[in-house]
Amino acid sequence: MTKLLEKAQVVENKEVASGIYKCRLRTSKIAKECKPGNFINISVGSNSQFLLKRPFGVHNVIGNELEILYRVRGKGTDVMTSLVAGDSLDLLGPLGNGFSLFEGKKILLLGGGMGIAPLYYLEKELSKDNEVITMYAVKTREELVDIKVSNLVVHIDKEEGCFACDKLEDVLIKNNIEMLYICGPDALMKLSYQIAKKHGVYTEVSLEARMACGFGACVGCVVETVSGLKKVCNEGPVFKAEEIWG
């Protein structure tokens, strides 16, 4: 997969939940090359004193356009909120390995908070050939993004008084789930994997790391795995959960 550098145009950039934005970008080639689980690197502004590109999971692809979902936290994303239609951005992608795709399986996707971002695109692809349930966990209703997938289970910690992983075992058993894909906070991914492992459910997780380059050159983004340190940007961001937690 060739990594491409492009100028992309902002089509739309709007707040979709409290402090969470969806940005749609028109690309010439990158969008078409993106597979579920890939990420792209974005320059937030050439006049910024913050130079490094920011990685964002691909949230959706529609023809030449792709969408990202981002939470405002820090200077980079703060600047991004002021993007308007027609603005152009430097884009690098597709980056990373992506999720494994299967057919004819019963699959559960578990997204915690912003972890829902890459799972939406994954759902679109997987649901063509599999039975897919999407479990979307947030802390409060304010941060809930309206996600349109066919089998959606929303979990709001504050309202239910428990975490999504407390309900995971039930969902796995009731639906005879064979594979689980998780993206979210580390604690959620690790706990959920332990439950899935007990039931022999194959699990993949998508990790985050501080990155400088995004394509394997700086060795800044490593994560500990059972077989030594690996680069999240090009050996991941998707890993088999057993590679990370044994």
Binding site: L4, F50, L51, K53, V219
Partner: protein
């Protein structure tokens, strides 16, 4: 087209644009973005005898107009370097390959130089005695002139390939250091490595990097780098590869004007992965527009 060829003593580059160690992987990471054969030289990630995992995370912090790193010389080790990394560059005909070594001791550096001396694809060896991110070796070599002389002598004895010594600016007296290198047989100098700095994690009230100190790079250090090149080039005759914060063609010209013979692009490769090749074109355009040669890029 005007020639961009530069003579760095024994090392001839088709143009003075090179890439900095640790910012260009082992070269192939950039082949989607850059025609590697269009560059003057590529300097590969520092290598050690054994594979090194490097420092714990976090290894990266962004700073205004730059970044800090505490990678800790993570690398694949000399064996894999020779078996896998160098062969992947075999097909390149024009670009020079500079192998950067960063042993933790004199003996390790000597052994690395000896092994690399036998490698055809290595056009020059850069000795990194300025890494701020390790306990042994690295910057420590710059603190002890007697030890440094022994190191340079012994490494020099093991290789006929052009020997570049890479220095940092945050030392007691960089000009003196450069003179020692010149006296002990170095063919060239690379100036500068990252500048040692500190970052704080205020949320957790601790130092951000596990080792505390880390190396600052990027446009933030460019004035420091320019001064180092300027000061050293007034006194020392060795060719100088200037680096530190190069982000555009004006920066390249500045380094050449204050005394660098070639330049190296570091962290900006992460930001604009095709920048090195664009700078080759940029430099060509610059001298054409001014109707001058590379040699005319000096201070008045």
């Amino acid at each position: 087209m005007k020639s961009l060829e530069v003579n760095l003593g024994k090392l001839v580059l088709q143009n003075p644009i090179t890439t900095a160690s640790g910012c260009f992987g082992y070269g192939t990471e950039y082949s989607d973005f850059v025609d590697l054969d269009s560059l003057g030289a590529i300097t590969l990630k520092s290598i050690t005898l054994n594979q090194r995992e490097g420092n714990p995370t976090p290894r990266i912090a962004e700073t205004p107009s730059g970044m800090m790193n505490s990678i800790g010389l993570a690398n694949c080790g000399i064996k894999e370097f020779i078996q896998e990394k160098l062969p992947a560059l075999e097909h390149l005909k024009k670009v020079k390959v500079i192998a950067n070594i960063a042993g933790h001791s004199t003996e390790e550096n000597v052994e690395l130089a000896e092994i690399l001396d036998g490698q055809k694809r290595v056009d020059a060896i850069e000795l990194n005695i300025s890494c701020p991110n390790v306990d042994a070796g690295g910057l420590a070599f710059c603190q002890d002139m007697a030890q440094l002389k022994v190191l340079l002598n012994k490494v020099r004895a093991k290789t006929d390939k052009p020997l570049i010594v890479k220095l940092a600016a945050n030392v007691h007296d960089i000009v003196n250091l450069a003179q020692v290198c010149e006296g002990e047989g170095a063919d060239m100098l690379s100036l500068i490595n990252t500048v040692t700095g500190l970052e704080v994690d205020i949320e957790n009230r601790k130092l951000f990097f596990s080792r505390g100190y880390a190396g600052l790079s990027g446009p933030a250090i460019r004035p420091i780098a320019l001064k180092a090149v300027y000061d050293v080039s007034r006194v020392v005759k060795l060719p100088i590869i200037g680096m530190g914060g190069i982000a555009n063609i004006d920066d390249v010209v500045k380094f050449l004007m204050v005394g660098a013979d070639a330049v190296s692009v570091g962290m900006m490769n992460f930001v604009e992965p095709d920048i090195s090749q664009r700078l080759v074109g940029g430099l060509q355009g610059y001298i054409r527009a001014k109707n001058i040669g590379l040699k005319d890029l000096t201070l008045n």
